[in-house]
Symmetry: D2
Subunit: 342 residues, 4 copies
Amino acid sequence: MTHKIAILGASGYTGAELIRLISTHPGLEIVALGAERKAGQSLAQVFPHLRHLDLPELCKISEIDFSQVDLCFCALPHKTSQEVISALPKDLRIVDLSADFRLRSADDYETWYGNPHSAMDQQAEAVYGLTEFYRDQIRDARLVAGTGCNAATGQYALRPLIAAGVIDLDEIILDLKCAVSGAGRSLKENLLHAELSEGYNAYAIGGTHRHLGEFDQEFSAIAGRPVKVQFTPHLIPANRGILATVYVRGDAARIHDTLAQAYADEPFLQVLPFGTAPSTHDVRGSNFCHLGVTGDRIEGRAIVIAALDNLTKGSSGQALQNANLMLSEPETAGLMMAPLFP
Amino acid sequence: MTHKIAILGASGYTGAELIRLISTHPGLEIVALGAERKAGQSLAQVFPHLRHLDLPELCKISEIDFSQVDLCFCALPHKTSQEVISALPKDLRIVDLSADFRLRSADDYETWYGNPHSAMDQQAEAVYGLTEFYRDQIRDARLVAGTGCNAATGQYALRPLIAAGVIDLDEIILDLKCAVSGAGRSLKENLLHAELSEGYNAYAIGGTHRHLGEFDQEFSAIAGRPVKVQFTPHLIPANRGILATVYVRGDAARIHDTLAQAYADEPFLQVLPFGTAPSTHDVRGSNFCHLGVTGDRIEGRAIVIAALDNLTKGSSGQALQNANLMLSEPETAGLMMAPLFP
Amino acid sequence: MTHKIAILGASGYTGAELIRLISTHPGLEIVALGAERKAGQSLAQVFPHLRHLDLPELCKISEIDFSQVDLCFCALPHKTSQEVISALPKDLRIVDLSADFRLRSADDYETWYGNPHSAMDQQAEAVYGLTEFYRDQIRDARLVAGTGCNAATGQYALRPLIAAGVIDLDEIILDLKCAVSGAGRSLKENLLHAELSEGYNAYAIGGTHRHLGEFDQEFSAIAGRPVKVQFTPHLIPANRGILATVYVRGDAARIHDTLAQAYADEPFLQVLPFGTAPSTHDVRGSNFCHLGVTGDRIEGRAIVIAALDNLTKGSSGQALQNANLMLSEPETAGLMMAPLFP
Amino acid sequence: MTHKIAILGASGYTGAELIRLISTHPGLEIVALGAERKAGQSLAQVFPHLRHLDLPELCKISEIDFSQVDLCFCALPHKTSQEVISALPKDLRIVDLSADFRLRSADDYETWYGNPHSAMDQQAEAVYGLTEFYRDQIRDARLVAGTGCNAATGQYALRPLIAAGVIDLDEIILDLKCAVSGAGRSLKENLLHAELSEGYNAYAIGGTHRHLGEFDQEFSAIAGRPVKVQFTPHLIPANRGILATVYVRGDAARIHDTLAQAYADEPFLQVLPFGTAPSTHDVRGSNFCHLGVTGDRIEGRAIVIAALDNLTKGSSGQALQNANLMLSEPETAGLMMAPLFP
């Protein structure tokens, strides 16, 4: 049996990535592509790289017959997402890629996103979408809230270490380098090729990046007490990839063992041999996350590095992995393609 | 039944690309990875992006038991390739990606490659690997000679036009732009990031590029008389992609019709609507070739543009497509992944 | 004595480039920076890379006291430029970088730019700004019309050849590759890093690019009869640079001699040894143009290649070179910096 | 009077950068270009971007008449540099760009570079070349040891803070991102465009990068007690630039004040307004270093970021600044060019 899929927000990068991934998935069929501003256009017009696919043209969300849809991916901007989802059938199964249902507290949402949350009733149903740590809840969820791409990367590096108590919770520094597609298709001067390529810089410095809301919520829940990390993202002249360099206190060998054990059976989380540095080159276009641990010359300090593709494991790949669970498809279906190198 | 595959030259870019493609092919199993200089290393050491695959470690060619192999890909440099293939079992089915068996004439080979050919007996058996035009011979071939990546791109733009007689055969100019992975993993100053990125230039100017040997052989055969094109390749600061801008004399609408009809049933050759310019962005990492035709303001002139990924449709994807034919697998198996964008 | 300079359109790329060049010019002083939308901001806010310069903040054009200005650079978009220049003092000396005063015929202007010209009285005074060919008129001009960046590159390759009658005027094909800064700071999806980097494509195919208006005007004037070239521009993933590959009929050695003689005394036009291919790498950030000539294997055909930096020799460097002539400064003042490599 | 200059190691990137900078310096004249392996070639052959300069061809060091040389830049690899310098006239004034004379202790040198030092007599004369902190000694020095490019960047961020006692000396983490030209012209697979572009990774993790020797020496000397920083460099797909993100404990406002005061009169060190993040885009090709300070949401923590161009302020620009001091030229001569953007 084939599951029927709708994608809302099909004209953005995460929408395109979902289509790419689903195009080789044997059990899913895309029946609707919603994109308000580009409604009426063919997929080939919006994304010429997908022109070989025989898919419906883009339409307004109001034109979609959701009674025919088994699962809906929602790849819309935050705030829009909660408005749209509120208006969808209440029994429709949804994987949301926006920030709208990640934070369980309405106050936290307002603090980080600047607007009050208008759909807290739906928030109550939402399951946080970090697959490896919420697998069972995701299977039965009606609404899964995809994680932030930076938030996913940092959590893969840190969750097992916080859970196992092998690092100092008050001394975590997360220096993150992310590629430009994470900013989406927004038309901003600093995202132009002429201004972005050949240079790099930190942004949202001082603990102001919104993904800190997820780190605070999740790490504190694991630790059973407030945990605050220091987090500085940097924009790198590349299109795909996130590299998180995490500075922690603890025994490096024990940290490596903890990660290696935690992820031993995970198909997508690959812990490299001790002392090896992962590279975003090695995960591009794939759903894999590479993790490395090294001890520093300063005793008692270690460096944990995680690399993933922000559009795949960081958003659309994660979303498909979750949808596979929800639809009782094999968890890795459509997701085992190797990274693209060079 | 699964076909057992060996890859010789597994540590180069076309080798890695073969492994990437075969990794999701349901009917093929890699049983040997030959790489003389890196023998004894694991695939994860040589290509960390392929570390998730459970494959044998790299070995010397002499260590491979070819009696267990159904088909062998040979991704070695030219000259080495003919030496190695001469020493392989005479009934082993081979898809060669080098230049060694592309030219039917020993003289032509020596003219373009500078050394005498040492395996002309095998050359006699070789079928030229441009799938769409040699499909039937490839099916039954023992040895298939993969085309040059530039040569493939130019031929997709021109073969049907020459066959149909819709262009002037003496006025063909092929201005080609190719990405750097076409040069392979060679350690040369001009291929360093610091020297290649942010700039571009022509090379092999004046009709000295070796792929002209293939153009001359193929176009002349189709036309039934000598055809010589003018060909200037350029090196572009990108990793994958070839864009051939072909200047021809003829009626643009008729040229477009001719291509559209010729490729109507081809799964990988996509003729865009008249007046549309293909981009290498839209084929990256895929086995598709996009073709566009536009008329010029100067009457009687047209521009034909072809775009493909040199590592996929231009070499390893083509090779796998040919292997599928030889092994009676579905021709598109392992090759329908969508391009990677952005 | 120091000449006082105003720059209108100071917040765009050509404005920034003018400031960069003038910052080390011993004879010029910037007294006003006009930028309507960013008026009131400091230069450091708009262009942090120029923060070390002690310059006035950006202002509205209406706030500038032009009685204190010896020469005004106008780096505004076409159409805006003619409106603004019409309103400036009639004795103000101006170097315009827009397209508005390049074409002598009002009809040609409307044909290529789509709107009627509203300042043809000023057009009558304008001198075409290709320095090496209009030097004497530029010296005395009140209004100099900077050339298109592609138009400059093509003309450096072709003017002496047309003048000397050494090439066939009906068989000129200009395949041009240009970097992205030529598109200016416009916010368009295809100029985003995520969509531009790693790929390339032709645009304005079929003879529709506006710079053809300049080619037609200039080449026909030199030849004394209509000359139409075939011209296809391509967008390359780099920030600065234009490479024009020009396919001509004629004797390659004679073509090389003609260019070498024509440019023997030019400080910025460098003719490379016969058979050498110029690269945009070698002119980046400089006012130099490199030219190369090679004969093709097909007798009677030659390839002429010209490379320059579109923001320097192609626009702002050219503009400063012209201003130097107008102000009786040494022609090379502020322009002899070496290219930036790597 | 013009000072006569020799450059040894003229065919590498720092050599080329020295020539670029000196080419517009009014008081210096290059009289010899040493490059053992490329001796006999013209500068245009080795660096086509410098072909407009009228300079002597490359020669062997043994062919240089040092009696005619006022100052010699030595841009050779470490180890080679100490051997060559030992053999030069003992009264020749030298600015060395290698690592050979940076560390005052022979043991430290051997620890970090793996070979014993063979010219410790010369080491005794050497002055560490971080201009702003060793200005007076450099003026009179015979031999100046240029700093490591990473080491310079980190020191600009930290020296005044350590000297003023405004940060915790035991809690300094330096996460550094550097562009590829810092690796020089070495032919390594990971420096190829195909393997470097579009991805990034940490290297020399765990406190193993050689520039730590300089940090240890200098920071400990300032503090009057051992200071060890944690230092992780990352390779970024760009050609020029270093961005150091430094995590410190202390009051952010006081840290900002301390840097602003320390560098108030420095022509090249620009402290940005509080809370502003510097970018490598804004210093490319220039001798400027931009510095920014921000407080973190976690009280008592601050982030200091420094950005410079590794080939200019990080090596060749620094070297010329030092040479200016040694030759009583204006310190900024040849160094005030604005950054190249875009």
